[in-house]
């Protein structure tokens, strides 16, 4: 139930981010200076923290998506659905923690 709710919330959030992301990348067609100003925003510490949230959302959505695929297509998926949920949480932590450390080192370390 909660993973279903989170899947929707993260999905919608990522989709809205894509609008902003394609528009900021489109600035490469305006001029190098315009694009550089646009990506400069992403290097701001506050936006850097929001990116942590974004990557967390992508990571959860991806791993939970794999769980859904396994429940749908793997014959033993429904039986192990609880373990699969623990797996999603476990793999999420294993991938997310190193990302946060490295990314925040970049954001705050200069």
């Amino acid at each position: 139930m909660w993973s279903w709710v989170l899947h929707r919330i993260t999905g919608v959030s990522i989709f809205f981010f894509l609008f902003a992301h394609v528009v900021d990348t489109a600035m490469v067609r305006v001029s190098p200076a315009t694009y550089n100003t646009a990506v400069e925003t992403y290097k701001n510490p506050v936006v850097g923290l929001m990116e942590v949230g974004l990557v967390g959302a992508v990571l959860f959505h991806a791993l939970n998506g794999v769980r859904i695929i396994l429940v749908d297509f793997w014959e033993k998926g429904p039986r192990y659905q609880r373990q699969l949920t623990y797996g999603v949480v476990g793999v999420f932590v294993v991938l997310f923690v190193p990302f946060v450390i490295r990314h925040l080192t970049h954001v705050f370390g200069g």
Partner: protein, 146 residues
């Protein structure tokens, strides 16, 4: 002479039989595109945010360097199309679930399809018409060789 065939008692009739398989196909598409996006998006995040100086390396020259290679052009194009269609289909499901009034559903879906189309067209044009030497005074290697 062949024996007369009888339809199985629970075979669908009417709309279900004629309606095509759009919902089944879109359900399958979500799973297929999801798996592809897993590779495309994680590759994108790893190369752009984890390797090198991470977020600090990203500027016009970085984009020019990546799109000089058709590999990354195809990568980004596939990511753009699949992500937008995957997201659009996800939002379509959510609108179907929560928007009750017929006019609301129509308005939201129109907005969704229009927005998706604009982003896909804009992104595709940007990838294919990208010019690393758009600035005549560019100091990038590709532009100085000319």
């Amino acid at each position: 002479m062949a024996a007369p065939t009888l339809a199985p008692p629970r075979s669908p009739r009417g709309r279900a039989a004629r309606g095509g398989n759009f919902e089944l196909n879109s359900w399958l598409f979500m799973r297929g595109s999801g798996l592809l996006l897993l590779v495309l998006v994680f590759g994108h995040l790893f190369v752009n945010l984890m390797l090198g100086e991470g977020i600090h390396q990203i500027d016009f020259a970085f984009v020019a360097g990546k799109w000089a290679n058709p590999f990354w052009q195809v990568w980004d194009l596939a990511m753009l199309w699949l992500a937008m269609l995957h997201g659009c289909n996800g939002l379509r499901t959510i609108i179907n679930d929560y928007a009750v009034r017929l006019n609301t559903r129509f308005a939201l879906k129109t907005l969704l399809y229009f927005g998706t189309l604009v982003v896909i067209v804009l992104g595709t044009l940007v990838i294919f018409t990208f010019d690393p030497c758009i600035d005549p005074n560019s100091t990038l290697d590709v532009c100085r060789m000319k």
